[in-house]
């Protein structure tokens, strides 16, 4: 077989990997032991972290990529895929995780952003990426940048599902509107969405007291001009219109703490669920992990959701989102 015919990291291979996770639960873990519990409970993948989001929130400071040694130990402990988080825009952290063989990278607002202007150009990587999104605009920008999976941002580490629900509802309603737009309206929307890539240009033009138009033919993000970005975003929007859904898998994440939370997110149209602090911050992680897996599979069967919710012990302690000092979801738009 001609080696040139072997193609790694294509869009098909990346999006295909994400599709294999559908209907599944991806669990945050911080040790090989926790990873084994997650695998045993039926998780489709684990997210290897230094601290779960609730602890990141509690400890404050700068949250960075986890110690690669911990990630490697978790990779050795389980046979299911292992994901890990990098800071928004941090190419070097992402290259490091790709080098150790992580199966998917989460460019995540749960960590402190490394770049206030841009996300990583994920097309330049072999490993697939998942990114958070609160709205269709955020989702479409991440997909254009090459994300193979989208997840709601929710509000991580709170055990409060309200923000994830909000983001899923906003996404669904936006898609409903897009599906009825004509070509002209899609073009306008694409241009509106693409403006987020002009933040660096605008900052510099303002500092130099130059009119914005001087950058018309200059690349504004990686090698792309504004016109090319609008065109790319327009193509993604056309796909959204045709499919009446995102062209990549869309998971729920951020604040999911109970089997009923997970089932609710599936009812709202999530393709699967990330559970962060909800499992290993509960009083009985094994039972919670199994129950959430079952609730996701049987999300439309209330008797099953009720049954698996019995005698689980204490869920993680929740937080009122309006009282938070840091809203992680506001990072990376």
């Amino acid at each position: 077989m001609d080696i040139e015919k072997l193609r790694f990291g294509t869009e098909l291979v990346k999006r295909g990997f994400a599709k294999m996770q559908k209907g599944g639960v991806i669990m945050d873990v911080t040790t090989p032991e926790q990873a084994a519990i997650a695998e045993d409970a039926g998780a489709v993948a684990v997210m290897a972290l230094h601290k779960v989001p609730a602890d990141i929130r509690a400890s404050g400071g700068v949250a960075r990529m986890a110690d690669p040694k911990i990630i490697e130990e978790i990779m050795d402990a389980v046979t299911i895929p292992v994901m890990a988080k990098v800071r928004i825009g941090h190419y070097a952290e992402a290259r490091a995780l790709e080098a150790i063989g992580v199966d998917m990278i989460d460019e995540s607002e749960v960590l402190t952003p490394a770049d206030v202007f841009f996300h990583i150009d994920k097309r330049k990587f072999t490993v697939p990426f998942v990114c958070g999104a609160r709205s269709l605009g955020e989702a479409v920008r991440r997909i254009w940048e090459g994300a193979a999976m989208i997840r709601t941002k929710g509000e991580a580490g709170t055990g409060n599902v309200v923000e994830a629900v909000k983001h899923m509802r906003i996404m669904n309603y936006s898609i409903q509107l897009v599906s009825k737009m004509d070509e002209e309206e899609l073009r306008v929307l694409a241009e509106n969405y693409a403006r987020a890539y002009l933040r660096l240009t605008n900052t510099v033009c303002e500092e130099m007291k130059l009119p914005e138009v001087c950058t018309r033919n200059e690349p504004v993000y990686e090698e792309y001009t504004f016109e090319e970005i609008v065109e790319g975003i327009y193509e993604v929007l056309k796909e959204v219109k045709g499919l009446k859904r995102l062209p990549v898998v869309n998971f729920a994440a951020g604040g999911i703490a109970t089997p009923a939370d997970a089932a609710f997110m599936m009812q709202l149209g999530a393709d699967g669920v990330f559970v962060g602090s909800g499992i290993f911050k509960s009083s009985n992680p094994e039972a919670y992990a199994r129950a959430i897996v079952e609730a996701v599979q049987h999300y439309d069967e209330p008797e099953v959701v009720a049954e698996v919710s019995k005698n689980l012990g204490e869920p993680m302690k929740g937080l009122d989102v309006s009282q938070l000092e840091v809203q992680m979801q506001e990072r990376g738009v």
Binding site: L6, Q21, G23, G24, H298
Partner: protein, 196 residues
């Protein structure tokens, strides 16, 4: 005609769409049903186990009684197809990863499978293979298994380099790759033609 797709986890919808398209190409009237509960597989003419995580899919089909329904369909000689994780679950024997995770297999395909045989996701790839009776086919391998050993009654339908990636034993078809991820429905058509 009814074809069931085991829908507990994985790329279920992709198989449903590929099967519907294949039925249309063959001008056959039939329905394709994804199911997460028992009661559907037993009333079907064929069943597909999709790609996904074999550890998860195995756990859920045995717990919910879907596994037993697949086994009785097999006894009736009805076609069964497994892709990637589905291939692993059909197999008689697995490697140390399958054993370590205590993944319970259906054992209706006399092969030994090796999980994640090419490595991790960064080693996942697309390549052209030669599929017996079909010809050149673009195959997508995602953390794919391979077949390491085959029993006497197992036909090898495709290899990638020297590795076995598609096999058939009478009514049971096992693929290491994902025909449901591409637009090419020839393998789904081949499977539908196995239905008597």
């Amino acid at each position: 005609m009814r074809i069931a797709v085991v829908g507990v986890q994985g790329d279920v919808e992709e198989h449903v769409l590929a099967l519907k398209k294949a039925l249309k190409n063959l001008k056959i009237d039939g329905e394709v049903v994804a199911t997460r509960r028992k009661g559907v597989v037993e009333k079907s003419n064929a069943v597909v186990i999709p790609g996904g995580e074999s550890t998860t899919i195995s756990r859920l089909i045995w717990r919910d009684g879907i596994a037993e329904e697949i086994l009785s369909l097999h006894e009736e000689g009805k076609p069964i197809m497994g892709t990637c994780a589905g291939l692993i679950i059909l197999a008689k024997r697995g490697d140390e990863q399958v054993e370590k995770t205590r993944t319970k297999l259906l054992g209706i395909l006399d092969v030994k499978v090796k999980r994640n045989a090419f490595g991790r996701q960064r080693e996942s790839f697309e390549a052209e293979i030669d599929f017996k009776g079909i010809g050149k086919y673009k195959a997508v391998f995602i953390r794919a298994p391979i077949v390491e050993e085959v029993g006497e009654n197992v036909d090898v339908l495709a290899k990638f380099e020297d590795k076995i990636v598609a096999v058939q034993q009478k009514n049971v078809l096992g693929l290491a790759f994902h025909p449901e991820l591409t637009e090419d429905t020839r393998i789904h058509e081949y499977f539908i033609k196995m239905i008597e």
